[in-house]
């Protein structure tokens, strides 16, 4: 009896557990709109569930803005020109910003544009409007980047 219960438990666990997807930056970020101070980005990411995919998409949007730039946009150069150097010199700040999600204070608006459930994951497209001006000033104040000048 015990053996049957164990076997059933194992089968039940293996059926219910989906693969855990860890965050890894992608380039699936594009500009929808921009103003003098803000940029609205569309970022797509997949994870085990919609909420997690949405969070990853938002983080992906910020990382692309910070370290890569958004092609064909008003921010096609990254805010931080040297990612490796910045990670070494401002590790604490950037961890707080990206992993601890303090980037949220720079979000003007965000929502899920679409969400598609697939076999082992949910693909979510997130729209996020970011106050780039405020973000840039914060990076300057915390000496992650220098003010404009030589």
């Amino acid at each position: 009896m015990k053996k049957y219960i164990m076997l059933l438990s194992i089968i039940a666990i293996s059926c219910s557990t989906s693969q855990i997807i860890n965050y890894n930056r992608t380039g699936n970020v594009s500009e929808i709109n921009s103003t003098k101070d803000t940029i609205t980005l569309l970022s797509t990411y997949s994870a085990e569930n919609e909420n997690k995919a949405f969070e990853f998409a938002i983080r992906n949007a910020f990382e692309n803005l910070l370290f890569k730039g958004i092609p064909d946009s008003s921010q096609n150069l990254p805010l931080i020109s040297n990612e490796n150097k910045a990670m070494k010199q401002s590790e604490s700040y950037l961890n707080d910003l990206l992993k601890q999600k303090s980037y949220q204070k720079f979000i003007v608006e965000s929502y899920i544009d679409s969400s598609n459930k697939m076999k082992n994951a949910t693909l979510t497209a997130a729209v996020v409007k970011i106050d780039v001006d405020k973000l840039r000033r914060n990076l300057e104040e915390n000496k992650v980047i220098e003010k404009f000048g030589i």
Partner: protein, 289 residues
Amino acid sequence: MMRLIILLLITVSMSMNIFAQEADKIAQPTIMVIPFSKKHISPRMEYERNEMVRIAITKVKEGFDARGVNTIDFMSRVKQLSVNDALENDQANSLKDEVIGNSGADIYIEVEASKNAGNSGNNVNVILTAYDAFSGESLANKTSSSPTMYTDNFEKLTEKAIEKELDNLLATIQEKFNLIRENGRTVVLTVGVSEDADFDLDAETDDGDFLSDYIETIVEEFAFKNSYHVQGITSNKIIFDLVKIPLKTEKGRNYRVSRFASLISRELKNLGYEVNRTIVGNKIVITIQ
């Protein structure tokens, strides 16, 4: 009481020293936004007759001001100059150079703006080109078009066009600044022999080198990362159209163009020559007498 005064004086002078050192670290450039003007047309005339350009210049300036970048007003500089309204061809070109040269601007940005009106709506195109005021080197250029809309509000369309690329323009200029910090600043150097001299650049030095070769050797020695380029050599002139000088001295002070000129002049004086030098912006002319 006397001890207190002395202590106060020491404290004040120390804080001033620290401030001076801090001031050397931060160099915010000043930017002047000017209208693009074709040859034989003065920038002032272009500014006064072209409403789109006036709007574009204002919007670019506003954008820089919002980013905390120091800007210089173009028209106020023009009015300060005691030059007649440039309708004549020769004055047209010199007015632009005079305005830039006397403005104190480190960077100037030429703005070109035009509107398109069509059946599917109106839009505005802008071209922004940034130059280093001293060397004339191009730092960045961006073109941008506003969305096409059914509107006669060209001011708004211009603003939209500029918004799209202003941050990119500043970011590209900053990249150039980073390169300058890494590779040095460009100066142009001409070393020539005076007309009254009884020798030329083929004269031999004590080591048996030609004077022109010696000059090239000392330029190479003092150039930042030994980086330079010779544009041309004649019997009485050698032109270096690119010599890199460092941004900072070993002690962290700003490395002035005059310092580099002094180094070259000193080496020539050590050979026994009399030397005159003229410096305008980043252009050095050394004349060997």
